[in-house]
């Protein structure tokens, strides 16, 4: 798997937005002085009248987008996740979510994949923040292709959607044919190691899901069968599918490039506590800030590598007994 194509999910956003611009003249783009790094530049160059550069003013970015949305446009805002939702929570809450305004909030440079810029620019709380806002949907694409599909799909939904993208190039492991529907989780791996039932359900989202697949492959060598579920939509969760698979596996490991508090793992724990409690382990950052370093070194230090997932799987299996 070393030679797999590497592309950033932000590139998928750029392609998707450009395509939407061609298909729908109501689609407009807004950026807060980061249109290039958020890959909104392709849209801006092709549709200059439908692109609004607001400068380094994220609160205004959100408000202007809400005003465009209640006037019939489909605005996409693009800035870094640490700024929106980070700096703009109240504007998102009131002007977008409470209004149920049709704004798509693209949160870029999310997670440890932001790398050398350090903790100030590594959003690790954005999923948790956005998940608690009524009317908001939260989507975390796993690779560049899925990012493009998610961007395009989000415009078909009438209402607010938060889309989370990463800066760093990461493996492209889905294809054009991989099914994608916001709100629908997809099984990406199912091993019946030695003909046994799968023992653990790994539920992940975002580029780190690739590490879950690497872990699953390793586990199969050790005759431990798992299912890997891509829950790219953190809200609304595909509840029926998750519960059905949890009943089959009897234990869960959540995998996300986000604080273990309040994110995908938190959402799944809430779902299972109410419906079908099973032992669960959480892969993610452990309520700490990141730091400056290469993404791969950060993944190692903060426990997001395949070996960390393997250990979590083994630990949760022990807890079943």
């Amino acid at each position: 798997m070393e030679d797999i194509e590497q592309r950033a999910t932000r590139d998928g956003f750029g392609e998707g937005l450009l395509k939407l611009g061609e298909e729908n003249e109501n689609v407009v783009g807004l950026s807060a002085d980061v249109s290039n790094s958020c890959r909104m530049n392709f849209f801006a160059e092709k549709f200059p009248k439908r692109f609004f550069q607001v400068g380094v003013a994220e609160q205004n970015l959100v408000g202007v987008a809400a005003g465009l949305a209640v006037s019939g446009k489909i605005p996409f805002t693009a800035t870094y996740s640490v700024f929106s939702p980070g700096r703009t929570l109240e504007q998102i809450r009131t002007a977008i979510a409470y209004n149920d305004a049709n704004v798509k909030i693209a949160g870029h440079h999310a997670g440890l994949l932001t790398g050398f810029d350090g903790a100030t620019h590594q959003a690790l709380e954005d999923i948790a923040i956005m998940r608690t806002i009524p009317n908001m949907k939260v989507v975390v694409p796993a690779d560049a292709i899925e990012a493009r599909k998610a961007t395009i799909f989000s415009a078909k939904i009438n209402g607010p959607v938060y889309l989370r993208f990463a800066r760093e190039k990461t493996p492209v492991f889905t294809s054009e044919e991989t099914p994608f529907t916001i709100g629908k989780a997809e099984i990406f791996w199912q091993s019946l190691a030695g003909g046994k039932k799968p023992e653990v359900l790994i539920i992940g989202c975002g580029p780190v899901l690739y590490n879950a697949l690497l872990a699953a492959k390793e586990l199969e060598k050790e005759k431990i069968g798992v299912i890997v579920l891509n829950s790219h939509t953190v809200k609304p969760l595909d509840e029926n599918k998750i519960i059905e698979l949890v009943k089959k596996c009897g234990a869960v490991v959540s995998v996300e490039e986000h604080n273990i508090l309040g994110g995908l793992g938190g959402a799944i724990a809430e779902l299972l506590a109410k419906n079908y409690p099973v032992p669960m382990e959480f892969i993610g950052t452990k309520d700490v800030f990141g730091e400056s370093a290469a993404p791969k070194d950060l993944f190692k230090k903060y426990g997001l590598e395949p070996k960390d997932i393997i250990n979590a799987v083994k630990k949760v299996i022990k807890r079943k007994k």
């Binding site: 407009v28 009248k49 439908r50 609004f52 607001v54 400068g55 003013a57 609160q59 205004n60 959100v62 408000g63 202007v64 987008a65 809400a66 005003g67 465009l68 949305a69 209640v70 006037s71 019939g72 446009k73 605005p75 109240e90 504007q91 009131t94 002007a95 409470y98 209004n99 149920d100």
Partner: protein, 291 residues
């Protein structure tokens, strides 16, 4: 546009008195609310809903309507009263302000009530949304027509100029030369904790806006004829957005409330409300006498 003769002006003045009465009754009934700003803006809301705005209460979603954003959502009692009196919903419903299951939320909610363009209350973010609406109007204007489809009005408080978000929006409106945007500032000089110039000095507001490439008008916010003149001028200014700094008296129309910031968010008790209503009615009488 309807001709503005003295009869129409008197009608608008009388309507303003009616809105003030509604405001007092609503806040008394609710047991909480923001009377000072609501009373200060009654004349302007009368002028807006009964003369200036291009709107249709029977078709609140008419695409070409003028938009009115109430950025300082806490003075919604006066907007609710104006909407009801204009025919958006029954006047009787004003009694439900702030009650469980009411469409009249303590701060306005777009999804709840016809005629509300956006939910508001948290200060400093209405102008951003008005800018978005003005940009949308421009995108929707006919090909080769320089005239936007509709005018966007944004009613703001003076104190929300403490917010950075407000200035971000002011700067952007200047950048895009939004001639179809009119901001109306209720310059009543009070806010929750005291007088604006003590809490966070705003002057010179005029020079600040001019520096941000806006056309600036200042007038007496209780002179309906002057305000309509300013709004007409704002509509005619094509090159840039216009701000109308409307100098008002907080609590206008009720002697014991005027100029007193303690009435920013204090409800009236029954006795105070009776006294207030008596004063407002007397004022109304004065207008009718001159007819």
């Amino acid at each position: 546009m309807e001709i503005l003769n003295s009869k129409k002006i008197r009608f608008l003045e009388n309507t303003a008195c009616l809105l003030r009465q509604d405001v007092i009754e609503m806040i008394l009934n609710a047991g909480s609310g923001h009377p000072a700003g609501s009373l200060a803006m009654a004349d302007i809301f009368s002028a807006l809903y009964f003369y200036i705005l291009k709107h249709n209460p029977k078709n609140p979603d008419w695409p070409e309507r003028d938009r009115l954003v109430l950025s300082n959502g806490h003075i919604c009692p006066v907007q609710y009263a104006a909407l009801a009196r204009a025919g958006y919903f029954p006047v009787e419903e004003l009694k439900t302000l702030r009650k469980l299951n009411s469409r009249l939320q303590g701060h306005p909610h777009r999804k709840a009530l016809p005629g509300i363009e956006t939910s508001s209350g948290p200060l400093g973010e209405g102008l951003s949304q008005a800018v978005g609406m003005a940009l949308a109007a421009r995108l929707d204007s006919a090909v080769n027509s320089p005239r936007a489809k509709y005018q966007v009005y944004c009613v703001m408080s003076d104190a929300e100029h403490d917010c950075g978000n407000t200035w971000e929006a002011i700067m952007l409106a200047g950048k895009y030369k939004l001639g179809n945007l009119t901001a109306i500032i209720d310059r009543n000089n009070i806010q929750s904790d005291g007088f604006t110039e003590d809490i966070m000095p705003l002057e010179s507001l005029r020079e600040k806006y001019e520096a941000f490439n806006w056309h600036v008008l200042e007038m007496d916010g209780h002179n309906i004829e002057e305000f309509i003149g300013a709004a007409n001028e704002a509509r005619a200014i094509f090159e840039k957005p216009t701000v109308i700094i409307a100098h008002t008296i907080a609590g206008k129309g009720v002697d014991f409330m005027e100029f007193d910031y303690h009435w920013h968010a204090s409800p009236l008790n029954k006795k105070q409300a009776e006294e207030a209503l008596k004063e407002i009615k007397t004022l109304k009488g004065k207008i009718e006498e001159t007819d």
